[in-house]
Symmetry: D2
Subunit: 124 residues, 4 copies
């Protein structure tokens, strides 16, 4: 396993890189919340596309094949880039949004009730 | 505007927080690439849902209304949480994937050709 | 405008044509509700893809350009084919499902309250 | 099994029912191709939502539980309603689009090569 120095990048830095890319191309005019939400959904579908007909187990195995892996990595990146840009354009503190949501999820899914179960909280 | 210290969190830290949440609930068994790709797409659709019938301009205005804003912030968080977990489960270096993809996009969309235009690279 | 004899085809007939295609290829084994729901969502995203950055008005105009129109027509067909196959595999009477849902929508969105408004029923 | 008289309804009739619903509420102004493509994708995600964490096999079993079945039936109806309205608003002959697409698919996936296989045509 490599040291993953890249992942020590902050969310702030990534947001700025994505914003600079958009600004340089004068693309902010297209980056309304509506349009970006569509772009995120469109990219999410591309992540699903190679996984439509395999079983969940087979999808784990697929990630060990370099070509498949690289394709999925690209699609995942596309989704996150648009999420970062959504946060940029709407001035959302993404980290704080994530932590707020996870805290709420921790209440909805207490460890002792949710362990090993995939049901929705209202079915637990 | 607050100082946004949260966004100085690293991607690595966020990934670990998401992974800890899943591990504590023994949920990794459900987190195959196939299932996570569906979850990302399902959450992406929830981000779109309040924006279906408004114009792009109206969608910018919608973000100034606190209730709408908070709802969309939650949905954005959900998407990114699942993206981080996808990266966790598949051992993808998300930052590196993002930078690789953006470098390729920079070639496909050179500033002078792409400025102010929303066409796909093969239509520029 | 041509007489549209094709649209006088029944839902039953279309369902059978789609089922025969799947049976001939021994594809029903892949057509679980989970997989088909993913396929529908993936195709839906392809319908969105050429419309990401245009305004709603521009998207109406786009349909007058033959190449764009044909592409979108193909994507729409893909979605409906998988919907018909979902109905086949789960033995859903699609017409009846549509009418039941529209009757419920008619109650949620009474003409006098909903006219000219795009809000959700709980905001009307 | 009941006689399914409903499925002997023509696509034309269903399109007209959906159009009448929209016209009565003066909703055609919202029904641009862009907005409808988003609505289709949003509904498609709702069809996926109850199937995220189950295996494909479990998703077949889920359809035998009346509450789950009814929910999925409603979501499938929502998708097809918006597809019919997309065809209405863009003057697409849906049946003809479906048959054109299936004929092309039949060439891409000849029975002898595609039988029992879920790979994409370019991988067969």
């Amino acid at each position: 396993m490599n040291p993953r120095n890249d992942e020590r990048t902050t969310v702030e830095t990534l947001k700025q890189e994505v914003l600079a890319f958009a600004k340089a191309r004068d693309w902010e005019q297209f980056h309304s919340p509506k349009n970006l939400s569509m772009a995120i959904a469109a990219e999410a579908a591309e992540l699903m596309e190679p996984l439509l007909w395999v079983t969940p187990e087979e999808s784990r195995a697929a990630m060990t094949r370099p070509a498949k892996r690289e394709a999925l990595q690209d699609e995942l990146a596309d989704i996150v880039v648009y999420c970062l840009e959504f946060a940029n354009q709407t001035d959302i503190d993404l980290t704080s949004a994530i932590r707020t949501k996870m805290a709420r999820n921790a209440e909805k899914y207490p460890v002792d009730k949710a362990r090993g179960r995939s049901e929705k909280y209202n079915e637990l």
